[in-house]
């Protein structure tokens, strides 16, 4: 029976060596091309190669796709592909009560049970069946080997394509086209015809297997989503940041300089940009994070769009130099792709616990604009905007992303280059005497670039005299400069869009205020509750410092303000302090994103009591 459904959540899980990330990625891509809205969440072990077959070694890729709006990688899972016992152990808990398990039973033998830390006598799949799950048992390894028995490949090589069997099968199950993946394989194995043949064959075998064998009672169709007209692509967060930076540089007619030191989950920005040299991007892998931001400060002084990125521990190291950039009033974008903290913490997990550090974590009075991206595709706009603010307001800007956004992906209606707004550097006027710390109406100083005769000037981290920038220890001047720098940053609030309610009523009982990657979960929860007639709205803050001018008005339009965060309560502190509103925190600190249901439950709890 073919059943049309609005959306589905599929989780591909197996050993790190089983190629689940690639499988998931292919499935997303095909679904995107198919016209679904979607959202993905890769979840892999911290180890490079965790021990085979263990729970710690499980790698998962979750995808939520639909004909309706999709904002999260989904809550509970409809279909779990478990390539081995450990994968089931790890993810069974995430299945819907009547969810389906597609199990590679060759991965459930005694050895695998032992590796998964279980008693060898367990029959996991019967147990799952007894627990009400729909279990489909397939000898995927064996079937793959059979398909390839004449391929001339070694067993080890044959086994490597068993993920294609899975992919083909799930394509069949959800009525997807296999052509995009066939094309992909062609490209990937251009120079390895035997592997191309094998993978293609196994992909098709999996597909046909679904068609032939009557293991499945249903087949599902998820129609195209009615997305706004336009051109779309699939995009991951870090990639979108890289593209946003390149675009901003182009639109400001500046050269892009990126300095980074590898760190999870920010490294991909470096990788991405290192590969864009033909866009005039100069990327620099520095000896450490301090050198990276140092080099960026130098590049900014040179007249470039300078960017550096890191994650928690690396951002901590950049603090001192960030204070210098603030004092110099020079454009600089600092990206923090947050991960589980504190200290080394949970490097491969997501968290939002660096907000207070971003806002307050410097010596002296050093307010720096902070903006946050809320989803993979949003990274483009936010990266572009961070550059705009940095360049037009002559200030460092902190951009907050997180591991969930960085590695997740979703379809993105990308803009035309010509539709992107120009960015206007505040250059010093040629042939005029130059006072480096003279300011315009927005309190922004002008930018003189080395090479401009007559504009030679010196600047530094010591307090400087108003207008001239000479060193000054004058008490009144210091106070004036501290207040002026603060006023300049606050002034940015007048040059950003007003805050809007994302969904739900303009006034009502509960306002859920979010920032960053909680966007999808909150939106899903609120839309759902609105359907249930609950008076709840969603406001998502992109501009965390300074806040949009009209933020307070919105907050006061609701009886209760709830602030869900993947930390121990950080934005909530700022809102409480600033508006003296008894905003209520809702915290999750598990290295995992919110499920929309968790937010729904909390709101209902709140409304009850």
């Amino acid at each position: 029976m073919n059943q049309t459904i609005e959306k589905a959540t599929v989780l591909f899980a197996g050993d790190s060596g089983d190629g689940m990330q690639l499988t998931g990625f292919q499935f997303s891509n095909t679904s995107a091309l198919h016209g679904n809205d979607l959202s993905t969440f890769p979840d892999f072990p911290a180890e490079i190669r965790a021990p085979i077959g263990t729970v710690a070694g499980v790698s998962g890729f979750k995808i939520n796709f639909g004909s309706v709006e999709i904002n999260t990688p989904g809550g509970k899972v409809d279909t779990l592909v478990a390539m081995n016992a450990a994968a089931l152990v790890k993810f069974q808990i995430d299945l819907k009560s009547n969810g389906m398990i597609i199990a590679n039973i060759n991965g459930f033998d005694k050895r695998n049970l032992r590796l998964a830390g279980l008693d060898e006598s367990r029959d996991l799949l019967s147990e799952a069946r007894d627990a009400g799950f729909h279990v489909v048992e397939i000898e995927i390894t064996k079937l793959t080997r059979e398909a390839l028995k004449d391929s001339g490949l070694s067993t080890k090589e044959q086994d490597r394509s068993k993920n294609m069997f899975t992919l083909g099968l799930v394509y069949w199950l959800y009525n997807r086209e296999i052509e995009p993946s066939l094309l992909f394989l062609k490209e990937k194995f251009k120079s390895k015809p035997d592997l191309l043949m094998a993978n293609t064959k196994v992909l098709k075998t999996g597909y046909h297997f679904g068609e032939t064998i009557e293991l499945f009672s249903n087949r599902y169709t998820v129609n195209k989503a009615s997305l706004p007209a336009g051109s779309y692509r699939n995009i991951a967060g870090n990639e979108a940041i890289a593209i946003g930076l390149i675009s901003a540089a182009a639109k400001a007619h500046l050269d892009l300089f990126y300095a980074g030191y590898p760190i999870t989950p920010a490294s991909d920005i470096l990788h991405e940009l290192a590969n864009r040299k033909n866009y005039g991007v100069r990327s620099f892998q520095a000896e450490d994070e301090i050198a990276a931001i140092g080099a960026a400060v130098g590049a900014s002084f040179a007249g470039s769009l300078a960017v550096t990125a890191s994650s928690g521990p690396g951002i901590a190291l950049k603090t001192e130099a960030l204070g210098l950039a603030f004092m110099l009033e020079t454009p600089l974008v600092v990206i923090n792709v947050q991960r589980g903290g504190p200290s080394t913490g949970l490097p491969t997990k997501t968290e939002q616990s660096d907000l207070l550090q971003a806002i307050y974590g410097r010596n002296g009075e050093a307010p720096i604009p902070v903006i946050a991206t809320r989803s993979p595709k949003d990274c483009f706009a936010v990266a572009f905007e961070a550059c705009r603010i940095a360049i037009e307001h002559m200030t460092p800007v902190i951009l907050l992303s997180d591991g969930y956004i960085a590695n997740g992906s979703e379809p993105w209606r990308f803009p035309k280059a010509s539709d992107l707004a120009a960015i206007h550097p505040n250059y010093a006027k040629m042939n005029e005497a130059y006072l480096p710390y003279e300011r315009d109406a927005r309190l922004v100083r002008s930018w003189a670039i080395p090479g401009t005769a007559g504009h030679e000037y010196r600047l530094g981290g010591l307090e400087k005299e108003d207008r001239t920038g000479n060193v000054s220890y004058e008490p009144e001047n210091h106070q004036k400069m501290v207040l002026t720098r603060a006023a300049k940053v606050n002034e940015i609030a007048h040059h950003i869009p007003p805050q809007e309610i994302d969904c739900g009523p303009e006034t009502g009982d509960v306002l859920i205020v979010g920032w960053g990657s909680t966007y999808g979960a909150i939106r899903t929860a609120v839309l759902n509750m609105n359907k249930q007639g609950i008076s709840v709205a969603h406001l998502h803050i992109r501009y965390l410092f300074p806040f949009p001018m009209n933020l307070e008005k919105h907050l006061r339009n609701f009886k209760t303000v709830i602030i869900p965060e993947l930390n121990n309560g950080q934005l909530v502190k700022i809102i409480r302090e600033k508006f003296l509103i008894n905003a209520i925190p809702l915290n999750k600190i598990k290295g995992l994103p919110f499920l929309s249901i968790e937010i729904e439950d909390a709101v209902k709890e709140q409304l009850k009591g």
Binding site: D255, I290, A291, A292, G298, F301, A321, F414, A417, P450
Partner: protein
């Protein structure tokens, strides 16, 4: 537009009061630097001085060029970013022994190995001046300072050896008071393509007065200093013409000039890495019969220059992929239209 060679040294002075202690060696270095500027043939606006923090690091305020007085130890990193984006600029790093060898040691050695075409002037006064007199990584063992009232137990760095160990492509040593020697070194540092590290012995007359007296005092100077001149034998002593150095079994000895066969003389060749290494190890504390301390250009090597290689990759990439088109970047490999 100003033409560099019409400028005078004083055109490189700013209107700011120079705030070093009277008698500080920094003055004479400033003077020499200002005096060579017109000779570089670089327009003033294309010159940038980047410093860290320390007495010496106030230097940029006194140079009427572009400049930045940055934070402690990071000038090398900042200058690296600057130079990567702007090959056209003449970039000078001003740093102290604490700034570059203590907190900034890592950036220094990485800059040296990467070999960007910048000049580092390391003002070595063997003390922390600005923070009022603690020992530095170059202070001699046993030195009594505020933070080492019982004498230091820290074996000091040998900056030349450290730099060569980090594959520096240019190392020279100068002395604040030796204006002529300094001038030559500065010009050669500028001319060198790659990172030039110039260590300058600088007297801090307040916290470490006389640290370099053996090399500047009339009475000891000839005995204790060795001026390195390209292609010339290593001579010192009275009129720099009395004692000669020679190498035997990879060890250095000195003897009266007349007692040595001409072919055994050590002829200075700044391209010879092994000899530069030997020079770097002429580092014993001054005593009546110690070997002299070398001044001048120890070593100079032509090696790939970082920012040029960076540019080359950019161009190769453009040649092979074409200049990046923003729209194609935005749309990526796979896209679809609704």
């Amino acid at each position: 537009m100003e033409i560099a060679d019409l400028l005078k040294p004083k055109d490189f002075a700013t209107d700011q009061d120079v705030r070093w202690c009277p008698g500080c060696g920094d003055y004479s270095i400033l003077k020499q630097v200002q005096s060579i500027m017109p000779d570089l043939g670089v327009p003033r606006e294309n010159i940038v001085f980047i410093s860290g923090i320390g007495c010496s690091s106030r230097f940029p305020y006194y140079m009427n060029t572009f400049g930045m007085h940055s934070i402690h130890g990071r000038a090398a990193a900042i200058a690296s970013g600057l130079k990567m984006m702007r090959k056209d600029l003449s970039v000078w790093i001003i740093t102290g022994d604490g700034d570059s060898l203590s907190i900034g040691g890592n950036h220094l050695i990485h800059l040296l190995r990467r070999n960007l075409n910048v000049n580092i002037l390391l003002f070595n006064n063997e003390i922390y001046g600005l923070t009022k007199g603690q020992f530095s990584p170059t202070s001699e063992l046993g030195k009594t300072t505020k933070s080492s009232p019982w004498g230091t137990i820290d074996h000091p760095f040998n900056p030349a050896a450290l730099a060569l160990g980090a594959d520096a492509s240019f190392f020279a040593r100068g002395l604040d008071l030796d204006t002529k020697g300094l001038r030559d070194i500065l010009l050669r540092a500028h001319a060198h393509k790659g990172t030039s590290l110039v260590e300058i012995y600088q007297n801090c007359n307040v916290f470490n007065d006389g640290a370099f007296a053996p090399y500047s005092n009339k009475s000891t100077r000839q005995r204790s200093t060795l001026l390195l001149e390209e292609g010339k034998p290593l001579l010192y002593g009275e009129d720099a013409n009395k004692e000669a150095l020679y190498i035997k079994d990879m060890k250095v000895y000195s003897a009266p000039l007349e007692s040595i066969d001409a072919e055994d003389l050590w002829i200075h060749d700044s391209k010879d890495a092994m000899k530069a290494h030997l020079l770097s190890r002429l580092f014993d504390p001054y005593t009546e019969d110690s070997l002299p301390r070398p001044f001048g250009v120890f070593y100079q090597e032509d090696r790939l220059v970082y920012e040029e290689e960076m540019d080359k990759q950019l161009h190769t990439s453009i040649q092979s992929k074409g200049i990046g088109d923003l729209d194609s970047l935005l749309q990526g490999r796979n896209h679809w239209t609704i």
